[in-house]
Amino acid sequence: MSASWKQLSLQILLLLVSCRHINTKTPGPTPPPRIPIDQLPTDVRSVALKGESHTEKVELLNPVNLALECTWTGNQDKLANITGLWRKDGEEVKNSNQTVPMENDQYHLKRVFSILNEEDLGSYTCEFGSKAKIDFVLAAPQIGDVRDKPIISYLGDFAVITCKMEETKPEPSTWYWYKANGTDKEQIIAAEEPLRYEIKNEERNTKLVVSSLVEADGGLYFCGAVYAISTSMSHVELKVISFLEPLKPFVAIVIAVIVLVAIILLYEKSQSKKNSTAADNGTTDQTNTLTQGESNGPGESSSMRQRKV
């Protein structure tokens, strides 16, 4: 018995040891296998600065060794040497502080960065002293048209949520959907609940169909366009309402219509009653009890008699 206990405790120990290495922070697709750095393709982005600062957007799809080049013509000081610095997301990149000499009336900074995954994306800045800087914003293609109004649907009905990548931007390799759960995002796997969720992916579009809606289905949904380097997210809000909502103005209108019709019919009945009682009293009364259009009555009769004559 002690041997099996030992085995069990060893297994538990092993389990605990391996558990520590499981990353629970980012749900979603497993990161792509790491390619050795020297086998990555290379790309160059260079910017020549005219003023004091500039921002350059760089769209990346795949892991790459990206060389960023900054060129600055300098200002009126025309210092012989200036300190050059690289920052990533505001924080200084280690060992990037260097002295940059002026060559051919220009300062030149260049560095190669390995952009492998989502953490490597962001804002890279080259600084010339504290006088000039160029920002390179590295990002995967972003989803352009984000629907700002919520999608509304009824309890028990289904809702269709779509995401689209513009024609001008490269196609994602696939799409994933997430539902917001508190501050986390939970991936929606259609295979797990085929009756409730259905995901239709077509290169540039994706559709999430949520069926048999319940109140809990309301909230934020995220669609992720997956590129080798990272996933671009966009969100849409889904609101689930009950059919009582539009029923209220509808019933109000119906009641108003019924009241109107009742008023018209009752008014007419009272008018015809007046007319019929007046008819017993004589013809002269009749002409006086007539409603709007007949104010011409007496005049009419006289002119008609004239015409007859």
């Binding site: 109004k149 509304i152 649907s153 009824y154 009905d157 269709v160 779509t162 309402i241 059919f243 909502e245 539009p246 029923l247 103005p249 509808f250 209108i253 119906v254 219509v257 109107l260 019709v261 018209i264 019919l265 007419e268 008018q271 015809s272 007319n275 013809t283 009749q286 002409t287 007539l290 409603t291 709007q292 259009g293 007949e294 104010s295 011409n296 009555g297 005049g299 009419e300 009769s301 002119s303 008609m304 004239q306 015409r307 007859k308």
Partner: protein, 471 residues
């Protein structure tokens, strides 16, 4: 002597005022809920395409079915009004139209929408439009065209109002809730029908003596008289209907294709949409202005109608020519003029009918006219689309459609007595002419309530020439 006469015409066809204007208001509301609603259904199409995952063409059949049903059931509505009380027919029509929309809010497939929004609501609309127009026309004589123009201006005005309203409803309640609320709004047709007032006339049944109870032959005979089928054998009516059908082939087309044509010539989306809105605005203006002008009585209605249709045809043909030069101003001017003329002619199209067939047969005549012209209307848009696909641009299709409109005018010219200065007398009814009876009827007219006007129009018409008071 004639100047002493108040607004109400001595020929007694209609009191021309007072309660008549209440009916114009009712027609205004019901027309906006029929045609104004139909025109603004485009807002729902985007939602339907996304929800039902169908093509835009399949979705556009919904409104085509609705319009076709409205026109197809018009003679039925007219016949029912001849047989029974107009007000109940209109109220039933309102309920049906609302029912169709309410059921549509529960639709789970496209066929449901065809059946509910298309057939049921279309049937309701058919039972509403023609009877209400005929009732208003029967209540006016000298101001008839103005009354119609004012009422039909509701189509343009309401589509201005309904577009943002429907957009809001769809955003708040999505299309299901919006359709439900639209059904409720359509119920407002029912009070409009209630305003018509009870009728105590006996129209077509007076012509047919039904001795036997329910036999097939007598039923068919009654049905044919309610539907005014004998009209189909009268040359003036056939000529006029043919003219209006030819008009219908071409006259709607610019509304469908103007925006696409402007974009093709090179103007921006915003500019093209603005041209359309401007044409819509002058359309409203044209309806009212033409109504007011026609009633001044300087010209015969048929002559005015011919002028407006010729001008409309010419401007349709000029539309592609004006944009040839690429000038936005030229396109805008021609579109404005086209909008004005097309609005102007709509006021007159219905007003001419009683001149041709007489006031008592007007109801059935309008129903048949709607039915026959609907077939022509169905031709127009596909034909122009086909021409555009063959030739590559809209020049040929606009030319052909303008040609159809002018052809309609030429057909109108062949109407009997076209070139005489005065209108010919409408055909006499079957009841014997009796001058004493006519005077007695006139005296009765003053004593009865306003809604009873309808029943006396038939009897009094026989003794009067319609337009001779104008000379």
């Amino acid at each position: 002597m004639t100047k002493l006469r108040p607004k109400a015409e001595s020929q007694g066809e209609g009191p021309d005022g007072g309660y008549g204007w209440v009916l114009v208001g009712a027609l205004f509301v019901s027309t906006s809920l029929v045609f104004g609603l139909m025109r603004s259904l485009g807002i729902f199409f985007v939602e339907f395409v996304q929800y039902f995952d169908e093509s835009a063409q399949a979705i556009s059949w919904i409104s085509s079915t609705g319009l076709a049903a409205q026109q197809f059931f018009s003679p039925l509505g007219a016949a029912l009004c001849n047989a029974y009380d107009t007000r109940w027919v209109v109220m039933t029509g309102g309920c049906l139209a609302a029912l169709g929309l309410i059921l549509a809010s529960q639709a789970t497939c496209l066929v449901h929408l065809y059946l509910t929004m298309g057939v049921i609501s279309g049937l309701g609309w058919g039972l509403v439009f023609t009877p209400m127009v005929a009732t208003v026309m029967a209540n006016f004589t000298r101001r008839r065209t103005l009354a119609l123009g004012l009422a039909f201006s509701s189509i343009g005005l309401s589509s201005f109002a309904f577009n943002p309203l429907f957009q809001l409803l769809v955003e708040l309640y999505t299309w299901r809730g919006a359709l439900l609320i639209l059904g409720g709004l359509s119920l407002n047709i029912v009070p409009c029908g209630a305003l018509i007032g009870p009728q105590r006339r006996s129209k077509a049944p007076a012509k047919v003596v039904s001795e036997s109870g329910v036999s097939c032959a007598s039923f068919l005979q009654r049905a044919s008289s309610y539907l005014e089928l004998p009209l189909l054998f009268e040359r003036p009516y056939i000529t006029y209907t043919l003219a209006i059908s030819l008009l219908n082939v071409g006259y709607f087309v610019p509304y469908f294709h103007l925006v696409a044509h402007s974009r093709q010539v090179g103007f921006s989306e915003y500019q093209a949409a603005f041209v359309m809105s401007a044409a819509g605005a002058t359309d409203i203006l044209g309806r009212i202005a033409s109504g007011w002008f026609s009633d001044l009585g300087h010209f015969r209605l048929i002559h005015l109608l011919s002028v407006w249709t010729t001008l409309a045809g010419v401007f349709i043909m000029l539309l592609p020519v004006s944009s040839l030069s690429g000038s936005y101003a030229a396109l805008m001017v021609i579109s404005l003029l086209y909008g004005f003329c097309s609005g102007a002619l709509t006021s007159l199209v219905f007003a001419v009918v009683p001149m041709i067939v007489g006031v008592e047969r007007m109801m059935g005549a309008l129903g048949l006219l709607q039915l026959i012209e609907s077939g022509a209307g169905l031709l127009g848009a596909p034909l122009s689309g086909l021409l555009k696909d063959i030739t590559g641009d809209y020049t040929a299709s606009f030319m052909v459609c303008g040609g159809f409109v002018v052809l309609g005018t030429l057909t109108m010219v062949t109407l009997p007595h076209y070139f005489s200065r005065k209108d010919p007398p409408p055909p006499k009814s079957l009841s014997p002419e009796d001058p004493d009876k006519g005077l007695h009827a006139e005296l009765e007219q003053m004593h009865s309530s306003p809604s009873d006007m309808n029943d006396l129009t038939g009897e009094v018409t026989n003794n009067r020439l319609p337009e001779d008071t104008y000379s």
